[in-house]
């Protein structure tokens, strides 16, 4: 463990010597901006292994991500850009780079604009910025609502947005809206395909249509923002599966289509001076199957607070609450029992977190974070805990130490 921490510190010290500057260059007489980021984490846990890493024992530093983007204004109203993102988080990502976003944005007026291409989905306070470690106080956002192992589920869509800001009046504040439709295409290196592998299902594709909207109100009370989001998704997963009647035989084709997948999210944020308080509630519902199938009903919320003590140091804490109810229906219900008792550790994760963030300079931060988790919430949908790295079975409680450092320019 100490060797890994020392390696992390060495990385930090080396990184601190690098002068980071955004790179601009000219292309066809237009300014092109280049920005990027990289982060490296180390996680040590007691209890269960976490986030598909072997975090118990010596801990794990298999926690790296990076992104690089280029953007330019083509005209006063038209902007184009793209970002590539890559990560390795235990068994997730595995350094398979993804096109994170790539779109053209035309803003007719402050109250109306359109975007087309691959666009980050606006959902709640942080869905579209969840990978941008340097923007957040916490090393890990509340996992009940922003599970890093399931980032693909809500992250982006290939399609279009309409958006705008409508100023109501001096006394009523501003409304910002985004509405979108497009195709979601999950990486097979995300958490859900990994969980299915433990059940003998090997996904090749997962995705489908998604459409939704977000409405947020910057209230006249300075620093107070409230909002709500909704997504509907129509998802199909295909791949191969073990023949349950002949487990040693060849794999069979697998396909599953959703009857209903939707997310509702409500959120509020209040900032005053050096204090910021966030709270969000999300309900995520899936129904996969036909005459026989399964529903998952995830209800999650968190409350977080962060306070900047001095310019370079911020401290924060949150409580994150996650419950899941899995109900089977049709013939499968005769052999697989439903899980509806959310007081069981298999159906919840309650996470208490404390964090300190140190900003070494404008480009480099280090975070130290403690998690105290009750439950492991792994029934038919994962929330950080995977059988593959916990073959001995799950323990009820997990404490985690997360050290993370990040650079951006």
């Amino acid at each position: 463990m100490f060797r890994r921490v020392a390696r992390l510190l060495l990385f930090c010290l080396c990184a601190g010597q690098i002068q980071l500057h955004a790179q601009d260059f000219k292309l066809f007489d237009r300014d092109v901006q280049v920005h990027g980021f990289v982060s490296q984490g180390y996680v040590y846990t007691s209890g269960n292994n976490w986030l598909s890493m072997t975090t118990n024992g010596d801990g794990s530093a298999a926690y790296t991500d990076m992104g690089l983007n280029m953007s330019s204004s083509i005209t006063d109203k038209l902007r184009v850009g793209a970002q590539v993102y890559d990560r390795n988080l235990g068994q997730l990502g595995q350094y398979h780079p993804q096109l994170d976003w790539a779109f053209a944005d035309y803003r007719f007026a402050s109250w109306f604009g359109v975007r087309g291409g691959k666009v980050k989905t606006v959902l709640g306070l942080y869905n579209d910025t969840q990978d941008l470690d340097f923007l957040h106080t916490f090393a890990l956002l509340p996992q009940s609502i922003y599970p890093t192992d399931l980032r693909d589920v809500t992250l982006a869509h290939l399609g279009g947005d309409i958006y705008g800001d409508i100023r109501l009046s001096d006394h009523l504040g501003t409304l910002s809206y985004t509405a979108y439709a497009g195709h979601r295409n999950d990486s097979i290196y995300d958490g859900y395909p990994l969980l299915l592998q433990s059940q003998g299902v090997y996904l090749k594709t997962q995705g489908g249509l998604q459409y939704g909207a977000d409405l947020r109100w910057k209230t006249p009370l300075k620093g107070l923002l409230v909002g709500l989001s909704r997504i509907n998704q129509d998802i199909t997963a295909t791949g191969l599966t073990v023949n349950q009647l002949d487990p040693a035989g060849p794999l069979e084709a697998f396909s599953s289509t959703s009857k209903a997948v939707w997310t509702n999210q409500f959120y509020g944020q209040y900032g005053k001076g050096k204090l910021r308080i966030d709270s969000e509630y999300r309900r995520f519902f899936t129904n996969f199957g036909a005459s026989s199938g399964n529903t998952n009903d995830v209800r999650a919320w968190y409350v977080s607070g962060a306070y900047r003590i001095i310019k370079k140091i911020e401290v924060g804490s949150y409580y994150s609450h996650y419950t899941i109810e899995s109900v089977y229906y049709g013939p499968i219900a005769l052999v697989v029992p439903s899980q509806t008792d959310t007081s069981l550790p298999a159906n919840h994760v309650y996470d208490k977190v404390i964090t300190a963030r140190v900003d070494i300079n404008r480009f480099w931060n280090v975070k130290l974070e403690g998690h105290f988790m009750d439950g492991y919430g792994v029934s038919t949908y994962p929330d950080g805990f995977y059988p593959q790295v916990n073959p001995q079975g799950f323990k009820n409680n997990t404490n985690a130490l997360v050290i993370k450092t990040g650079l951006h320019f």
Binding site: S71, S110, D170, I310
Partner: protein
């Protein structure tokens, strides 16, 4: 404690302990450090700008002013930067940087041009069509124009005729200047009904109020209350 101090000095944080020690007394202190003047390239077709418009431009919610494409430029640090953040954006530098980074890394905006000093702001604004910036009131303004600021509450009114305030000679000779903030009540017919001095040097405030009392605005449907800033630059 000695070891911690040594580490912090090595890490380039010699003032950190002092900051922590004084943390609670500094927490409530304002970062506001001086007066600021908003400047623009002569191509910008406006002589004044409301605080709301200024904030929208800097937060990239809009990018034009009176039909002119506008490009904001920010200072990396300094008293003018602190004053501008405090007075017009209502954000700390850290919050503003995170705001821009969220735009840049989700593809929803670009990082504004950032320079290191008032002189660089003036030079960039002077040579860049549509550029606007902010500088300390004492900065040289060669090649740029100053935009008057009107913080409106209850609606904006167009200024029709303006009387320049007298600059008391004693103050000008002693290089005493700054920006005076006034609350102005404008009647429906466009005449100025009442002026209150909200901030700034009281002698300059008295002079500004006397001048503003003679200003004439375009007629509107009702009485309007506005907050305006009047700069006094001893070098001009």
């Amino acid at each position: 404690m000695k070891h911690i101090k040594a580490f912090l000095v090595v890490a380039g944080w010699p003032g950190l302990l002092g900051q922590i020690a004084l943390g609670t007394t500094l927490l409530g202190a304002s970062a506001f450090a001086g007066d600021v003047r908003v400047i623009a390239n002569p191509s910008v077709k406006a002589d004044s700008i409301s605080a709301r418009e200024l904030k929208s431009l800097y937060l990239e919610e809009k990018n034009s002013l009176n039909g002119t494409h506008v490009e904001p430029v920010i200072e990396r640090r300094g008293p003018a930067h602190e004053a501008f953040l405090h007075d017009y954006l209502g954000q700390t530098d850290d919050e503003l940087q995170k705001y821009y980074q969220a735009l840049v890394f989700t593809g929803r905006g670009l990082m504004p041009k950032t320079v290191s000093s008032d002189a660089e702001v003036v030079a960039y604004v002077a040579r860049t069509r549509g550029a606007i910036g902010y500088v300390d009131t004492g900065a040289s303004l060669e090649g740029v124009k100053t935009l008057a600021i009107a913080d409106s509450s209850g609606g904006e009114r167009q200024l029709v005729s303006r009387v320049e305030p007298a600059y008391p000679k004693d103050l000008q000779q002693r290089s005493i200047g700054g920006t005076v903030r006034l609350k102005v009540v404008i009647a429906a017919n466009g005449s100025v009904e009442h002026v209150d001095v909200l901030g700034g040097n009281p002698i300059l405030g008295e002079s500004a109020a006397a001048a503003v009392q003679k200003w004439k605005y375009a007629a509107a449907g009702s009485r309007t209350t506005m907050e305006i800033s009047v700069p006094f630059d001893p070098k001009h």
